[in-house]
Structures are given as C-alpha cells and as structure tokens.
Amino acid sequence: MLSKYKIPFPKFAIVQPSEDPAPYAKKLGFPLVMKALSPQVSHKTERGGVILGLVSAKQVQEAKSELLRRYQGVEIEGLLLQRMVLGKDSVELIVGGKRDEQFGQMIMLGMGGIFVEVMKDVSFRICPIEKEDALQMMRELRAYPVLSGARGRKPIDEKRLASVLLNASELLVKEDPDEFDINPLIAWHDGCMAVDVRIMKK
C-alpha cells in the first residue's frame, strides 16, 4: 500500500517463525529492528513486540527467540525485519487519518511519542490537501522549531515531509480507510520514512 502511494519506508524482509533470520539480516544490512506480526495485536510496542538496535546476525537470532517467547499463545504471521532508521537529529512524527461525518477524510500531522498524547501537538486538514496546506500543517505545530532546526539541530527536509503528507492524503481519498496511521514517521535532514503503519478497513 505504501509503495502504491510512494510513501518511503525502510528496507525490510518478512521472516517465517520457522526460518533462520540471519541470511535476511545480512542481506538487509545493520542495524536492524525486529517486529512480531500478529492479527491479534495492534499495538506492538505495548505487547513487547518490537526489539530495536540489532547489530549482528547473532543478535537477530536471539531477538527472534525472544519475540516468540513473548508472543506465546498468540498467533504469529511472521517476523518483520527492518532496517533501523538512524538519521542524525531525526524527529518522530505521526501522520493519521480520520473520517469526519461532515467533511470526509481528514489528515493529521503530529509530533510523535509523548507529544501527541500529552501535548496534543497536532494539526488537521481536510483531504485532499495541497502543498501549501502540507507546509502550513508543519508550521502550525508548537514543536515546529524542533523541525526547523532549533538549537543547532539540522532542520528536517520539509519538501520530503510535504510529499509524504500529499501522498498520504491521496491514499486517504482513494482508499477511504476506517483507520489509518503512520506511527512513527521519522524525518531528518535528507529523509522521511514510515516505520510503522496501520490501515484498517471494514
């Protein structure tokens, strides 16, 4: 779905629980993240289904055993092995969709992690959006200075973030999902990648 709408995401491989992940890991390169995929678990982090910072084939193998142990009694469709996004001065963002009964699909941009829950630092627009809307959405965030290079940080690439927003808006209009979010979307000075995505359609 992401490639259909040209939303960039890190290189990945799906490993079956019965397979050895090491050859996949070597092909992808390090560092890596491993995530357990299960139709019964929608919030992976809370369930302990994500292990970050794997830098060797051995660590990848250990991570697999650990995830299988943590998911005992839960159906596992596979293990997602993903290159870890490590941009210098990167920021975690959230892009979401929401259907409004009057205006239809809306797109949301927010600061990721604790900011979205505690600070409610988010901005909304009605889909479809234009480039100018995408840029305004960023500037509306209270944390915009963090994106634009406060305290000597490298500013994020606003053009790339804008194009992710435009493409996500197109996805929302064409697919009309009941629920959609990219969380996190990691942005840094020369990249912007969807690390985790959830799309639900009844």
Binding site: D100, E101, Q102, F103, G104, M106, S123, F124, R125, I126, I129, D133, Q136, E140
Partner: protein
C-alpha cells in the same frame, strides 16, 4: 461560471422593487404587522402589498386576499402565515412569478417535521424561487431599506450602509449582532438570517455575496453546514477576492448537541471545521466581539507589510500596544531619519522621538496631525495605530476629523484605539461610522491587525496587488 437560477433570484430577496407581506396583520403586536410597519417606517422606496384575506386595509395600504389578486408585478414576498398554510401560499407565489421568498414561519425540520419542509422546498424549487428559511428572521438591506426582520426598529437598531454582509444561521444571534453593529456605527450591505436553509443554504448565500458588488466583506455565524465539501470549495474560491470572517458555534460536545437540535445540522468535529476554515483561508473568530473586531478592519486599505507605527498621548498605552504587537508577531517599525528630523522640529523638546511615538499627555489635535503626516510619508511604516486617550485636557473632538481625513487618503491603514468611558465611546462611534476601525484595547486592535495582515498576504498571492490594495470597490 454559470450562476444557478435560484442564486440569481436572491436579487429579488435583497433588492426587490415590490414586495408582498403575506400574513400581514392589523394587530400591532403580531409579526405580520411589525413587518409591514418596518417597511413603511424604514422608508422602503418600492411597493408594499399587504396580503390578508380578512382585511381591507393595513396601515393605510390596501390589503389583498391573495398575491394572485395583485395586478402589478411582485418581485418578492415575506411569508408569516401559520405552517399549515405555507404550501398553498408558496404555490400562489410561484404562479404569480415571485422570485424570492422569505419564509419566517417556524414549525418544520427544527421540530422534527422534515417531510413538511421537503414539501415546501419542492414547491420553491419547481418555480425556481430563492427561498430563505423557514424558521428565520429574513433579510435587511440597509441601502434599499428592505427589512423583513420582525423586531421593532426602536428595539433593534438598523445599521448604516456599509460593506459588510452578514449571514447568520441563528436569528437571535444575528439580531443581536445587527443591533450591536448599529450601535457601534458599523456599516452593513446585507443581513440575512437563513434559519433551516431548506432551499437556500449558507453556500448559496456565500456564492451570491461573492458576486454582489456591494459586499466587500462577508461575515458568517454558523452552527453547521449542509455540505462540508462544497462549503470548503466555495469558501476557498471566494477568499481569493473577498475576506470571510466566521464564527462556528457548537464546538464543544454539549454545544454540538444543542446546535443539532436547534437547526438540525450534521455535527462534524470542531477540528474538522477549524481545518476547513484554515484551508479556505477564512478568518475565524472565537467570540462575538472578535467577529466584528476582525470584520471592521477591512474598511481600511490592505497593508503592504507588518511594520506598525504607533502614535499615543499616553506612554503606558504605547507599552501595552508594543507588548501585544510582539505577541501577534507584528513588527515595530523603525522611524526613518527624515521622520525623526521632522518630528524633532515639530514636537516639544521633551518628546522622545521613537516608535511607539509618545506625543505626551499635553498633546492637542495638531500634534496628532503632525505625527500622522510624518508616519504617512515614512516608507518604513505600513500600518498606523492611533492611540487616543480622550480623557486629557489637551484633546478635543477635532482629533476625530484628523483621523478620518488621514484614513480617507487611503494610503495606509489607520486603526484607532480609544479606551475609556462614555465620552470616549461617543468619539469611537464617530470614528467607526466614518470607517476608521476603533478598538477598546491595544490587544484587541493588534489581534485584528494580525488577521488583517494574514489576509493581505493571502490576497496578494492571488491578485496582482497594488500596494496598498484597495479592497473596497467604492467609497
């Protein structure tokens, strides 16, 4: 673009040359009486035909049994008959060739009678009647004295002629605002309370006002819209040419429930409305005070930049204004060397020549004139804020003329802040009625200036903006 007939026919509602009042009454406390009386007392220049099957004459005018008995052409009708008679009255209007109807009568979708409302909408649509209402207060056009609002003129003031057109879903809120505008000296082009919007809804009205040459600024009180997508599209198009100031009621959960039962609008979340307003570059007011604070500033020419020059006869007010200016992201202008020189020559030696320019508590009108003239010429200044404290000994009413003359040059926006009691308020009203937007506090003025600036930036993006831009087509 082709304008749909029912929108075109709104002309008959706002600018008719003849009008029938159906449900006209001889009883002084009946709505149908007040409407006829308001047309007569207000000085409507066209023909008024009272329609009442049981009366010969109402307020000295011949009464008719039905509109079909009127021989002459009738452009529009105000209908205030009981709900059960509305359908047949509308049929008569259609047959008579009436193009616009204001349907005051309530008792339709707002009390759950959706089918009855659809029935009357179908009749209106069959005859291409531009129907306002039902369950509304109707329209006021100050320039032609069209006035279907059934509240007596001595209780609800009517505003002077101006460039603001105001559409209101709620009759009560609309009425209060009209009354306040009249008192504050703010001018209006059209007022309409459109109630249940069975035929003509907010988007139709916005489209009409977008074409209307008399309307320079559109103000809207909304509880909800009929069609979100269309609203966004229509509003986006209009704001490239004319500013729209909007207030959305029913943003809280409880407020949304109240609005739903009030006019039966589909809720839509508060964040969706705010997003739509931003996307369409509407100017959103959070309070009724802001609604007019933001609208009236558009009486001035659009500024070319955000550098503000402040003139004050009270130092403290200048400081407060500077604080608010910074808070709103505006810039304190740097006076040019030439301005400094001319001011030092003209002002007393104890005056400090800087911005904000304190012309001291003993300033008279002449000192204001000198300061305004200098700032008018100064290319470092885009907007002039005049703080006038009318409480001082040196100030008299002539400062009002000086401010109005400066504003009439239409070179730079002139905005006034007058803080005080009744004497001050009186002068404020005079300034306002000559198109100098006047505020009670530096913070409300700065907030309005920042909205003004945002709109100016938006406008210049879509128009070859001569600087400063004349938004007003006439004066």
């Amino acid at each position: 673009m082709k304008i749909p007939k029912k929108i075109k026919n709104l002309d008959a509602v706002f600018n008719p040359s003849s009008i029938a009042v159906i449900g006209a009454s001889r009883e002084p406390n009946k709505i149908g009486h007040v409407i006829v009386k308001n047309f007569i007392d207000g000085g409507f220049a066209g023909k008024v035909y009272p329609v009442n099957p049981n009366a010969e004459e109402i307020l000295g005018l011949r009464a008719y049994r039905s509109v079909l008995d009127i021989k002459e052409k009738v452009d529009s009708a105000v209908v205030a008959v009981p709900a059960v008679h509305v359908a047949s009255v509308l049929e008569d209007c259609g047959k008579k060739g009436i193009k616009g109807v204001v349907l005051i009568t309530g008792g339709f979708s707002e009390v759950g009678k959706r089918e009855e409302e659809e029935k009357i909408a179908a009749i209106a649509n069959r005859y291409d009647i531009a129907l306002i209402g039902p369950n509304c207060m109707g329209v006021i056009t100050p320039a032609t004295r069209v006035d279907s609002v059934f509240l007596p003129i001595y209780k609800l003031g009517r505003p002077r002629v101006g460039g603001i057109s105001f559409i209101s879903q709620s009759g009560a809120v609309g009425g209060c605002i009209v009354d306040l505008a009249a008192r504050a000296g703010i001018g209006m082009s059209k007022f309409v309370s459109y109630g249940n919007a069975a035929v003509i809804n907010e988007c139709d009205l916005l489209e009409y006002l977008a074409y209307d040459k008399e309307t320079e600024i559109i103000v809207a009180y909304l509880e909800g819209v009929k069609d979100g997508k269309r609203f966004l599209k229509v509003a986006k198009k209009i704001t490239r040419k004319k500013p729209i100031v909007v207030i959305k009621a029913g943003k809280s959960q409880a407020g949304a429930e109240a609005a739903k039962s009030h006019t039966g609008s589909l809720a839509g979340s508060a964040e969706a409305y705010s997003a739509a307003f931003k996307q369409a570059s509407l100017i959103e007011a959070q309070t009724l005070e802001q609604l007019f604070d933001f609208a009236k500033i558009f009486d001035q020419v659009l500024p070319c930049g955000n550098r503000v020059g402040i003139i004050t006869n009270g130092g403290g007010m200048g400081v407060l204004a500077t604080d608010s200016l910074e808070e709103e992201g505006l810039q304190l202008a740097n006076l040019s060397e030439e301005t400094k020189k001319s001011l030092s020559a003209a002002l007393p030696p104890y005056a400090n020549i800087r911005n904000p320019l304190d012309i001291i508590g003993d300033a008279d009108s002449h000192r204001y004139e000198v300061a305004i003239n200098a700032m008018m010429k100064d290319e470092n200044i885009d907007i002039i804020l005049l703080i006038i404290l009318f409480q001082t000994v040196g100030i008299d009413s002539s400062v009002v003329n000086i401010a109005i003359r400066a504003s009439d040059q239409r070179k730079k926006p002139i905005i006034a802040v007058c803080t005080g009691g009744e004497y001050t308020e009186m002068h404020k009203r005079i300034l306002e009625s000559y198109g100098v937007p006047s505020y009670s506090s530096p913070s409300s003025a700065m907030r309005a200036i920042s909205k003004f600036m945002q709109y100016a930036a938006h406008y210049s993006k879509y128009n070859q903006m001569a600087c400063p831009a004349q938004l007003k087509t006439k004066k």
